[in-house]
Symmetry: C2
Subunit: 468 residues, 2 copies
């Protein structure tokens, strides 16, 4: 089912690597009985300036989704300028060399499309959707905002104020407070310690010059991936892309020197005092994995069993059996570098430490006993059934395809997705648990009315008491 065609299309002076395949299509042998996934034609190319291109045909509707991913995220924020990558992304749509914010909005609205930019820890994405017949217009606009923003002083001040307001508003949000303290403790001076949106101090310190420089350093074709998914004919599209992005000059990619992540020994417990709370917010965890970890599928299945959804161990124990909380969830945030593994829940102040102890017990039980065959089977069954539901729209497909490229996952990652899930054995999961899950060395954050729970919290270990 997999044909690889290599060649040079001199007409476009492109180095072209074309990988056309129909994946997961009607192959009962490799698919077992879980139904057919749609065939998807997929093609890769690279412009001379280093821009990686992925094109996917998806013909159900006359629409197209575009994503330009730039390897520039909050991990590239200087220590004193937290929020830099985010404010750069937010400013892209505010004005370019030839269009102001209103003109950009008018052009998008005129074709009934969408265009937005968002930055995360490791990257920034500019995404757009439109009818196929407006492909050239929307691509032009996307190129314009990504490559030629002007960063006017008044737009910077507006965006800075807006972001500061968002951060201040988080003071009312228990969960956001817990996350912020958790990341800070887990990552220390590593930039994963601060949220992508930035910090009050960081945002206030950012200058226009630094914004311009950040854009110049990171928004480079050889630091970016462009994906187009939709009702397209790849060779036509490629010509348009070449015309639009061919003159984008490559440059030196700035890789930051990152500090080490701290080592957590025993429990590091922090109690954040918010005296108006009657419910305690709890966040517990340790370092997790890189996105390209070979145990990714094992840990995804493990996480399902431990704390994803209403059939998980944690939910059954804490919500169903004991009624201590309305919700409990575990999660791996897999990033370019090691993202966090964490469990979040909440309970009344009176039962907060009891709930926390139950979570710790579940982690210990998992570490000591591993998982059962039945648990693994039902986790697999969930993902096998659910996978196609996550690939319904061109924008969803674009995001999955770009994920594969960005994290350096195998070329056949999506093609073999279901096979990979099925191949995971109980031993694989238990080995992954053995290597990663560590119930003895944890960051524990409690956001609560301190006087309600401090004494009981101290039975677990030393408690660092903090204000908001």
């Amino acid at each position: 089912m997999l044909n690889i065609i290599k060649g040079h299309l001199h007409r476009y002076t492109l180095i072209i690597i074309m990988i056309l395949f129909t994946f997961l299509a009607n192959d009962k042998h490799s698919m077992g009985d879980e139904g057919n996934i749609i065939p998807m034609k997929y093609q890769k190319a690279k412009l001379d300036n280093g821009l990686s291109i992925i094109l996917v045909e998806h013909h159900e509707l006359p629409v197209v989704a575009i994503e330009l991913l730039v390897r520039a995220g909050s991990v590239h924020d200087p220590q004193e300028k937290q929020g830099l990558a985010n404010i750069v992304a937010q400013l892209l749509r505010e004005g370019t060399r030839s269009k102001d914010s209103l003109e950009i909005s008018e052009e998008i609205d005129f074709i009934g499309g969408t265009l937005s930019a968002d930055s995360e820890y490791d990257s920034t994405s500019v995404t757009a959707t439109a009818l196929v017949k407006h492909f050239k217009s929307i691509l032009d606009l996307l190129s314009e905002v990504a490559r030629f923003p002007t960063f006017k002083t008044k737009d910077i001040e507006f965006q800075r104020e807006k972001t500061l307001t968002s951060i201040l508003r988080e003071k009312d949000n228990k969960r956001a407070i817990a996350s912020r303290h958790f990341s800070e403790m887990l990552y220390g001076i590593h930039p994963y310690a601060h949220p992508s949106i930035g910090t009050l101090e960081g945002l206030k310190a950012i200058t226009r010059k630094e914004i311009i420089q950040f854009h110049k350093n990171h928004y480079l074709p050889n630091n970016s991936i462009l994906t187009v998914v939709g009702d397209i004919e790849p060779s036509n599209i490629l010509a348009v892309i070449k015309k639009t992005f061919g003159d984008w000059k490559e440059g030196n990619v700035h890789k930051p020197t990152l500090p080490l992540m701290p080592k957590i020994v025993n429990y590091r417990i922090r109690l954040v005092d918010k005296p108006d709370l009657t419910q305690t917010e709890i966040c517990i965890g340790h370092l997790g994995i890189r996105r390209n970890n070979p145990d990714y599928f094992s840990l995804m299945l493990l996480n399902y069993i431990l704390g994803r959804g209403p059939t998980s161990r944690l939910y059954t124990e804490i919500r169903v059996e004991r009624g201590l909380s309305y919700g409990v969830k575990s999660q791996f945030d897999a990033r370019i570098l090691r993202g966090p593994f964490y469990i979040r829940t909440y309970s009344k102040n009176e039962t907060a430490i009891e709930t926390l102890r139950l979570v710790l017990d579940e982690l210990k039980k998992l570490k000591a006993g591993g998982i059962t065959k039945e648990e693994l089977d039902s986790a697999k069954s969930y993902y096998i059934g659910h996978f196609p539901l996550s690939l319904e729209t061109p924008a969803q497909i674009a995001s999955k395809i770009i994920e594969q490229e960005f994290y350096g996952l195998p070329e056949d990652y999506l093609e073999k997705y279901l096979e990979n899930i099925k191949a995971v054995s109980r031993e694989d999961v238990n080995r992954a648990i053995e290597g990663l899950i560590d119930p003895e060395n944890l960051v524990i954050v409690l956001v609560s009315k301190a006087e309600d729970i401090l004494k009981e919290a101290k039975t677990l270990g030393e408690v660092e008491l903090k204000g908001l």
Copy 2:
């Protein structure tokens, strides 16, 4: 393009009205140049017990989306039991005659599907998605939760507590506070006055008996519509539906006697005091339209011009020109009965009344001068381009199709959607403005630190001062 086939399929003892058509497909004449919308095969039927059925073929992925809409919403809540319809909906998944909450979750997870229930003002929807090969299983489950919930006392208490907590949490949310007061003033003793989720007093007063009775009164086949969209073959699906829902007993549909909506004369201004606020939340409006109002398209286009998105009059004036707010938005919530028309924005306390005055001025200008041809063209252009982007997934299609049926829109509503938009003239919009928009008689809600703005607010008229 439209074939109507009528007949009786005695094999299923169904009264079948089959309407098969390929809509918006390749019809350049009626479509102009805005691209082809996918062809969609669409079929209607009705079971003997009165259940309306709509089936849509959508073959891109091997998935299926199901929506069962029951005409039972918070508009059916008794005055003293606000939140009844919602708690009934929330309890459906908590346990049935043969399955407890955990078993239901396990079954859904086992097939990797989704199943949820949500209630709004006029209706409750139970929605599900799954792979097509699990259609029978997910339909069985959907039928089980919709028809045979047991409403155990412990589940009721859990759900009641959870909902009360959500309502209490709204106290931190300025926008939710403004909405609540706005609806209360606009609708008086009409049930649209309270949010679907209910009120603290209402929720506390609800008994198990009332929950059971509400379900019995409203969850009836002759009060419901079932829509299935996906990679299906209608006649097979119809047989399965008949087997699953054929024994659902019809009953008398309980239509509530609803009080009249109050008449608002002049400005009715309410200032809600929240002393910690530095930003004032503003909500202004009056009664809007029923969903089946023949001027729906005119008003949709008008709303775009007035306050939808970054090119609208309000946004340009308040955000772009004056920098008084980060956001401003106008909206029509079109319901079975007249929903609200409202404008929402916020500004620093010092500039709140100035911002409010600008909004009022824009409404007056609109009423006096109407819209321009250029504004209308760009609004049309937006919706023409955007429509296909709102029909990407089976679940989106199901929701549009059920909307058409539920609100009694014309049979060719979706088919003629783009044509209808294009047919709207400047005169149509201006006539709709003349008939509906009323800048002299408005509900105005301000949520703010009262002492900061009270004096200035009084320059607009009498101000009712309220606590949270």
